[in-house]
């Protein structure tokens, strides 16, 4: 790996030398920039504390103070410092930039900045640029009926709430992909830096192509403390920290201190170097002058926690300690001394100098904000729906598997999908990404490599295949990174798909939570434009991780997803390749959802022609007439949802036809899981009458489900016929064994399904016991065969639909 070229020159500037670099700010610039920062800090403190008297034009009285003091001060001045300085760079260089507050609990900062830039008042008219507007701005913060305390979706310019820490770098890289002109400034909290996702997030630089992607500027904000503890990275020596960041592939610049004037000069000088270095890296890559990965510049900003806030309160250190984390001075309504200290603190920012008589930011300060879309609070990249372009989707019908007769031909569903995805990628060379944790080929989507490579900025050997500096696929063995990259990509107005082993998608349960909450909240914000859905393709699923065993077997992500608001959640379990194609096309066209698609990768029987598949997926569920012999009045209904359960149900139907030819059996297959729910609970919910038409009001229903059986009960418990629902699914029994042994272990196998019918259809009389015994014997024989031969029985392996 070469260290030559421009970045080497930069790398040779020792960290400490930056302290003595030129002082790029003239006296007037320095004063103005400091005033802007003071204004932002003032607005932040005002939001935390004030109900009224927003410019302190009267002495501060108890009734001006909010009764509940909520918000986080500690990180706020640092965020304001970064934003204010980045504004200077944007103005000077006309660079498109967005800001991500890793410590998103610093909501007062990002709200203040959006207000100072005028964006807030444009989008929220009652928060105008005057005293009344200031009062409203302050009052609404963390107030009932107002806005949240964090960098929530309600905050213009925010696409990263930071409420749950750890994802800022993954989001930042995702936002930068395919945005060659964009710089994503990502403030990393030093507490946040202890999280696993953030610790691996630094490696995002191994996937960022300086030629075709934008830049990420990490600013590690070492303010030294978390809620109640110091942070690790603030308490290791500078050389150790420098080694760590260098080892992550960065060129770190240290900006450290607490004297505002000196720090302004240092930050400005450093940013000048940093943006020169970014420009040089990009120029080298874009002119073909360099193809090696170069270390990207980053900043280590070491400032006191709660900088410019009260040094001590009640004799205890606050500034520069963890006590600055939330509200530094409490009980300001009832404690006069505290209120006086608050007033002194607020006045230390000299609000009279900052705002004019009407309460508007002084015009000369207003000029420090960038204009129009260059304002970070108004960047269209931070309201990605504004930039969203529809995908150019190939006609999925052309990728259909031929199905002359159901359940007699075999295909690998995800492999079929891979061919379509290949052409999705080919047609959308800058607007779609496929991410996966080293599982894209394992999940049999490798057709995509016919038209693209995997993005890879680390070393490439001649023996490597399908790796390149620029590729549309990202493979990193971190589900957190996959999810974070994709979220950042989607929220900036693009499209994508995350393919993952089903069991391990739980690794991002909490990230999913946050994204679903984000989508749900943005649905209620008029100025937020819809973004593309987050699409999960879960393969290598619970029933076919028979080779890896118990640790790889878990279908519970569906349950987790179903806890979130119905308006943003969709779950599909297509039973074969053609239905998978239809579902995938639908998902990639959709907006503002999380779509979970579960599909197998192993050779499996195909059930529906493409025409049937489209009709079936359009309804979301339906009776499979070809598999039913009920003439509209079944003795028993089989429900099935998922590829393996559907296969077992059909094989069970076959057994029933052999052994009980007069039994009237109906088969209902479910693709769109939420159709099962009540229409009042989910927009896809099936009206009651239709549900009863399918599942009957009173006949036994044996439901074979892909996941944990109780989810079906949960979705159907309001249904009239619910008491007759008997659900089979995964009961948390698993190991390394054969596919059919897996279904037997969980009583989802065809033989057991027949036993379930026998147990629930009273009319069978004496035939019941015999057939039940026959099935029990078949199970024992199947198990014995498997333990002897290590394979499923020929009957099972070779079964096809014989009718």
């Amino acid at each position: 790996m070469s260290r030559e070229g421009l970045s080497t020159a930069a790398a040779e500037v020792p960290v400490a030398a930056v302290r003595t670099a030129t002082e790029p700010l003239g006296e007037q610039d320095l004063r103005a920039l400091d005033a802007y920062w003071r204004a932002a800090n003032y607005l932040a403190v005002g939001q935390i504390y004030l109900m009224d008297n927003p410019l302190l034009r009267e002495p501060l009285a108890a009734e001006h103070i909010k009764p509940r003091l909520l918000g986080h001060w500690g990180t706020t001045p640092g965020l304001n410092f970064c934003w204010t300085h980045l504004n200077r760079v944007i103005r000077d260089r006309e660079r498109k930039m967005i800001f991500m507050a890793g410590p998103g609990h610093g909501g007062p900062a990002v709200v203040a900045q959006a207000y100072l830039e005028g964006t807030y008042s444009e989008l929220v008219p009652n928060v105008g640029q005057d005293v009344d507007g200031l009062r409203a701005l302050f009052r609404q913060f963390s107030f009932p009926g107002g806005i949240p305390s964090h960098a929530a979706p309600e905050v213009p310019g925010s696409i990263h709430e930071g409420g749950e820490l750890g994802y800022v770098l993954s989001h930042a890289y995702g936002a930068a992909f395919d945005n060659p002109d964009l710089v994503v400034a990502a403030v990393v909290g030093d507490g946040e830096a202890e999280t696993g996702p953030l610790a691996t997030g630094w490696h995002g630089n191994k996937f960022l192509d300086p030629a075709t992607d934008g830049a990420v500027l990490p600013i590690l904000h070492l303010n030294g403390y978390k809620i109640a503890n110091p942070t690790i990275l603030a308490r290791i020596p500078d050389d150790e920290l420098t080694a760590l960041l260098t080892g992550y592939g960065y060129h770190p610049y240290l900006v450290a201190g607490d004297d505002p004037a000196a720090m302004h000069q240092l930050m400005a000088a450093t940013l000048d170097l940093v943006f020169d270095e970014i420009a040089a890296i990009q120029r080298a890559a874009r002119t073909g002058a360099g193809t090696e990965r170069l270390p990207w510049p980053m900043i280590v900003l070491r400032t006191p926690k709660g900088w410019t806030g009260p040094a001590t309160v009640d004799g205890r250190q606050v500034e520069g300690s963890y006590r600055a984390h939330q509200v530094p001075i409490s009980e300001c309504r009832t404690n006069d001394a505290h209120r006086a200290q608050l007033e002194t603190w607020l006045r230390s920012y000299r609000p009279d100098e900052l705002f004019d008589e009407a309460g508007r930011l002084q015009p000369d300060l207003g000029l420090l904000a960038p204009r129009g879309d260059l304002r970070m609070s108004a960047s269209p990249h931070a309201n990605g729906g504004l930039l969203l372009r529809d995908l150019r989707l190939p006609d999925f019908r052309e990728y259909a598997v031929a199905v002359d007769k159901p359940a007699t031909t075999s295909a690998e569903a995800t492999r079929v999908l891979g061919a379509w995805l290949r052409d999705v990628i080919a047609r959308n060379p800058d607007n779609f990404r496929l991410v996966g944790p080293d599982e894209t080929a394992s999940n049999r989507l490798d057709a995509v490599y016919e038209v693209t490579d995997k993005a890879w900025q680390a070393e490439i050997y001649p023996s490597d295949d399908t790796l390149a500096p620029h590729g549309r696929v990202i493979e990193v063995l971190s589900e957190h990174q996959c999810q974070g990259f994709l979220e950042g990509y989607l929220l900036t107005g693009r499209h994508g798909l995350f393919n993952c082993y089903e069991a391990f998608i739980h690794i991002v349960d909490s990230m999913f939570n946050q994204h679903a909450k984000w989508l749900r909240t943005t649905n209620g914000i008029p100025w937020r434009r819809p973004v593309a859905s987050l699409n999960y393709l879960l393969s290598s699923h619970v029933w076919r991780q028979d080779h890896n065993g118990f640790s790889h077997q878990d279908p519970g992500f569906i349950d987790h997803v179903a806890n979130k608001k119905a308006e943003v959640i969709r779950v599909y379990l297509p039973p074969d390749a053609n239905t998978l194609l239809s579902v995938a096309d639908h998902c990639l066209r959709s907006r503002q959802y999380v779509n979970v698609v579960v599909a197998g990768k192993q050779p499996a029987p195909q059930f529906l022609t493409m025409e049937q598949a489209v009709a079936h997926c359009t309804r979301g569920l339906g009776i499979w007439d070809w598999a039913s012999n009920d003439d509209g009045d079944p003795d028993v209904v089989f429900g099935c949802c998922g590829d393996v359960p559907t296969l077992e149900v059909l094989a069970a139907v076959d057994l029933l036809r052999q052994h009980l030819p007069d039994l009237k059996v109906r088969v209902v297959n479910v693709v769109d899981l939420m159709r099962l729910q009540d229409e009042r609970e989910h927009p896809h919910g099936l009206p009651e009458a239709e549900f009863d038409t399918l599942f009957t009001p009173d006949k036994p229903v044996i439901f074979a489900y892909h996941g944990y059986p109780w989810l079906i009960h949960r979705l159907t418990y309001r249904r009239r016929n619910h008491t007759n629902f008997h659900v089979r699914g995964y009961k948390e029994n698993g190991t390394t064994t054969t596919p059919f042994d897996m279904v037997m272990l969980n009583d989802l196998d065809r033989y057991h399904l027949v036993m379930d019918v026998v147990d629930r259809v009273p009319s069978l009389g004496s035939r019941a016991a015999a057939l039940r015994q026959h099935m029990a014997d078949a199970r024992l024989a199947a198990r014995a065969y498997t333990r002897e031969h290590g394979l499923d029985t020929p009957e099972v392996r070779d079964w096809t639909w014989p009718y």
Copy 2:
């Protein structure tokens, strides 16, 4: 931070210089060690491929090959290499050591080592030390009815399955805590190293006290490839990798190559240096000679993936490429050339030299294994129940909150618990750890700092409080690390508690899955002894994250937990401090469970005296007579589960008594959530008759629940009276607001509960509409007041039980 002392001397050995260090192995030692390694590799390949002919005493025929070839070869020779060399250290130094295979898919290696050490045959008699035993060993691997393909609980010496990657360092540090004589050798896969949890797991050294804890020896196994891709750490320059590991606080030694003889010498020489360095660090700390954190040695082992396996198969590179990941040569039953190549491969290990006529390892090789408990496969630390000592628990009754009259006094439940935990820690100074992601004080357990500190090996400032090199509390802003530390601690036979914000415990959903699966599996393994339960205390819960808002509001971990096997899962929602004490005592005495306890930290009304609390918790649920006026025949039943829902139910009861004094209301409080379930579904499940006695067979039940309401439906859908259950809970509505506004947003508030009663008790007649309107008006008034004043109404804030 000083770099002086012994580790500096070591650090001054340049990485490359190790290559030219002495060759510590004599000719005979080298030959024996290589033979042992060959034996292990032979056994690994045999497990993957062979059904029969285990020592190749006949030519290899199709029927000797397993019909399904399952297992992972790529990592296996490297794991065997490490284990074999560590054995030499154990023998030479008599050091207690355990082995954690981060790439736990290398099951063939750890099984092989346990077999070579004799442990396997001791524990699994049918796998003896002869030809029949070898046949059984080979056949059972990844075979129906046999053992899993990974380092699963079935493998002696394993406490880390590694099926889901990323946790090996956290587990290793957890195992090393308070085990001063133990060395935990932790092999980190280079794919695994890309995961977030592993990337932060390196920082475990900031919490390990060399004086009182053991040592962790990370071995980063750079074999270069994942399933289908190169790994990041294998594709950055050595200087960048060295910087990264140095920045993580380690002193890395590189062992790189592919020539076995040279690599044996290099590894042996390096291990000698490494163990000298570990000894020096420990000696310095234990003699008081050094108090500064020193870099711990670690090894970077760079070997080809699938080392010693086939170089190419069908003309494509296998050894040294990702194609070595699973089964390098496929279709060996049907493809004669493949089978011949397999036979050549197997014979390359020269099995005839390794095993005697009877199939037993040659005696001189057997001597290379350590003896007795020093065998890593037989270490009691890897079967922690063997070492488990009961906690010395203070009598929780002595920490009781006085409750003269229910719901009139206030206490912070977790603060009360904190006092008890303080004394638990004091009485168990080497056997109990409290972990938390920087939330222990926030969760109001800070009484513990009266008797201990937070473990902290990074720099300590004079201004710091409660930090020390040795402390019983570990705070790191990584739920993954907290969970991993605790799992490692528990699985080696100790006790602990993880306190966490409720919403963010989802971060470890997938780790919880793996631990629950581990516990469940070990229940079925006769030689595994029970370990202490994994205890979660979830506080700062959904109803009282009103200040952080929506991102911090999620009660779904309970749902996630409920998907796992009932035999290992317990969920408790104590409504007040005394019930929390009783529950916590119960949990800390229990074995082999995951206990989830949800409890609030805010001042809240106290309901039960300690005597009542013990009785109530013993039953798990019950009628609160003092809150009921039903005389055995209620018109309506209130169920409540969780502190906030219980408060709202009691306030609703109060409203009903005021407005409908003749309405007969029963209150049933639930502490042990699983009591709601059917006794066939969960060992704690309530028998049907008892359930009907509590909830009636036919009366309306308004159930106020802490979490997502559908869980209550899921748990009770088989109950006779289920159709009359109407559940209120968290409906995924949240923001930054007041506590009462939060319950109103989700229709869980007292006024809405009264409306729910009104809607469901038909006998109310004309009074219903008026009361309903009255309650609706009260809601509107409460909301208006809150939006005006930023506070809940005085009625709500000041409410106490008036009867």
